[in-house]
């Protein structure tokens, strides 16, 4: 793990155009795909910096959650009615129409909670690994996180500087806490 941290550097940029130039430089230097990540304080349109599109499976989570929530709701409503089998107005002990309300809420609760878990999981959070970071990113600067073999990091740093990086930060730098 420690080796991997040393294999990552962060270029700090003042505007999006310089990031695009640096990404092009890095691509020419052999850094592609997941080796290069753009950090920003706001969502930019995907592909704005020439980065690879991100794939995720978030849409699976609500369906899984809905199935779990529905199952729990059915079990809960059926079990409570059987546990206290009181006949009301000659109607069946397990009365489906009023169960629908709770089954609906259970389904939605499951779907929403699984979606939230999915968002966190797919965002790869929590992530407290000591990867390089710079607090200036929160002030509108853009970061370009480059991972690669230690031997190639000098090339990466050069590509970042040539692209217009205002600063290069390593994991050991003073602003690396996340």
């Amino acid at each position: 793990m420690a080796t991997r941290v040393r294999d990552t550097i962060l270029g700090v940029f003042g505007d999006p155009e310089t990031v695009v130039a640096a990404v092009d430089n890095l691509r020419k230097a052999g850094f592609t795909g997941p080796d290069v990540k753009v950090l920003s304080d706001t969502p930019y349109p995907e592909g704005a910096f020439g980065e690879s599109p991100e794939r995720h499976r978030l849409y699976v989570f609500p369906f899984m959650g809905a199935i779990c929530g529905f199952s729990v709701a059915v079990l809960l409503t059926v079990a409570t009615q059987i546990a206290y089998p009181m006949v009301t107005d000659g109607k069946p002990v397990i009365s489906i129409p009023p169960m629908v309300n709770i089954m609906y809420e259970g389904t939605m609760l499951g779907a929403i909670m699984f979606t939230v878990m999915g968002i966190i999981f797919e965002s790869r959070l929590p992530d407290f690994s000591p990867s390089p970071y710079d607090a200036r990113i929160s002030e509108g600067y853009l970061g370009l996180l480059v991972s690669g073999p230690t031997a190639k990091l000098d090339t990466a740093a050069r590509a970042l500087r040539d692209g217009g990086a205002v600063d290069i930060v390593t994991a050991d730098g003073p602003r690396a806490r996340v």
Binding site: K37, V38, L39, S40, D41, T42, P43, Y44, P45, E46, F49, E51, E54, H56, L58, Y59, P62, L76, T77, T80, Q81, A83, Y84, T88, S95, P98, M99, N101, I102, Y104, E105, G106, M108, L109, A111, I112, M113, T115, V116, I119, I120, E122, S123, R124, L125, P126, D127, F128, S129, S131, Y133, A135, I137, S138, E139, G140, G143, L145, R177, V178
Partner: protein, 457 residues
């Protein structure tokens, strides 16, 4: 949206994090006043527990009074919060950006406050909870899922937990900014809450997708919750309650009161946090237009409720409406309700100049909620007090007592305190959303004019 201001990221951070990072004197004064009211309410409720529910003005047939009225009112307020946020996110309305979080936060605190009232109203809260949560296994008592009073907690629990999760997910990027702007224990606290968010492309993509996906999932819950609250009444056979129009009527009423509350809240937030660059007359203009439509929809359902009562087969329903329209104090309340909820605000909102006047929007939206509180009162109390078949049930009008008033006032203090505390700990306006608006804004030249535009994927 015609107003666009150039706001650099650093300025947005400083402006929107100012209250979170610095504590003005007025915060302590307001917090003290609100805490005092809450303390008074706590003492009052201890009295209620000790002396019994007679302190709440309940009578022979009237057992749902101020506290249940307050419950329905706050559930209503809570509705528009997430609704407005969800609809505006789904429709990618540009003016949503400064509005969404305050609306969502109001939802959470209003709903939590609402949920406490039915429990307080029973007078023995610890014995009531096992109606919803079957902890008393020893006596074999379980929730009766055939009762509307059990549907209600399940719906409110779903909505409350979903709304809280919604707020948290959308807060994560701003927690990262708070982490980067603080030191010491505050930094540690924000860092833990931000979970190491760095703002990678993947994280932003998930954040954007999450906003839309969660909005789409929460909207059906929003509709179901107030429908189910209406079934607390409509599923009963009491004349005046047993109305099929109640679910949509309650939902539109909730939207009317909730969107008005959002307008009131935005006016207050703008004033006290000096956010004139972020919450502009354009936002109030948009809210005013939305409210005009919603208010008219609400009036339609109110009239439908009246007509269904008048045209129904039973005479009891008609008697309830006779009581509401012609016998004091209810006969005074209905005109006040219509005047405050519709006749005063809607004509004002028809004029652009009025919609863009923040003072007018503040008072008119506040006016709506006075009317909407009365609306819940006239829906709930009169059907319990009309003359029923047995003359021993002919009673005096319901008269709330001092304990009712204190608890109702305390509910406003509780929601205000919750929102204030949230704004103290976290940015009440989403920083990343505002920054995204700045990144995506454009100006197009068409002929001789420059027109504001927004880039959309």
């Amino acid at each position: 949206m015609q107003e666009r201001r150039d706001l650099p990221s650093a300025k947005i951070n400083v402006d929107l994090m100012d209250f979170t990072l610095h504590t003005p004197l007025w915060f302590w004064v307001v917090a003290f006043v609100l805490s005092s009211i809450l303390g008074l309410a706590a003492i009052t409720y201890i009295f209620v527990l000790y002396y019994g529910l007679e302190l709440l003005g309940y009578q022979n047939t009237i057992v749902w009074g101020f506290l249940i009225t307050n419950f329905v009112f706050w559930v209503g307020i809570s509705h528009a919060g997430v609704m407005i946020s969800a609809i505006l996110r789904l429709s990618q309305a540009e003016w949503r950006r400064p509005v969404t979080r305050a609306a969502e936060v109001m939802t959470v605190f209003a709903l939590a406050t609402a949920a406490s009232f039915p429990v307080l109203h029973t007078g023995r809260p610890w014995r009531t909870l096992y109606w919803a949560f079957p902890y008393d296994y020893a006596r074999g008592i379980f929730p009766d899922v055939r009762s509307a009073l059990i549907w209600d907690p399940s719906a409110i629990f779903t909505y409350l937990s979903s709304s809280a999760a919604f707020v948290y997910v959308a807060l994560i990027p701003d927690l990262a900014v708070a982490r980067d702007m603080t030191t010491g224990w505050k930094h540690t606290a924000y860092a833990i809450l931000a979970m190491g968010f760095r703002g990678t492309g993947r994280q932003w993509k998930l954040q954007t997708t999450a906003g839309i996906l969660l909005s789409a999932l929460i909207l059906p819950v929003f509709v179901s919750v107030h429908s189910i609250v209406s079934w607390d009444f409509a599923a009963a056979i009491l004349p005046g309650y047993h109305a099929t129009v109640f679910p949509p009527y309650f939902v539109i009423g909730a939207v009317h009161s909730g969107v008005s509350a959002v307008a009131t809240l935005m006016a207050i937030v703008r004033k006290i946090f000096h956010l004139e660059d972020y919450i502009t007359p354009d936002h109030f203009d948009a809210l005013g237009r939305l409210l005009t439509v919603v208010a008219t929809g609400w009036l339609y359902f109110f009239l439908m409720d009246v007509f269904f009562g008048m045209m129904g087969e039973g005479t009891s329903e008609l008697e309830v409406w006779t009581l509401r329209f012609f016998y004091a104090p209810y006969s005074f309340l209905i005109p006040i309700m219509i005047i405050t909820s519709y006749i005063i605000p809607v004509p004002l909102w028809l004029f652009r100049k009025m919609r863009r006047n923040i003072t007018v929007m503040f008072w008119s939206s506040l006016c709506v909620n006075v009317g909407m509180w009365i609306e819940r009162y006239y829906i709930i109390v009169p059907p319990q007090s009309f003359k029923q078949v047995f003359s021993f049930l002919w009673i005096q009008s319901y008269a709330p007592r001092w304990a009712d008033w204190i608890l109702v006032i305390a509910s406003f203090a509780l929601v205000s305190f919750g929102v204030l505390l949230f704004a103290k700990l976290f940015p009440i306006i989403p920083l990343f959303d505002i920054k995204e608006g700045q990144v995506l804004k454009q100006e197009l030249r068409i002929g001789r004019v420059k027109v504001p535009a927004v880039i959309r994927e």
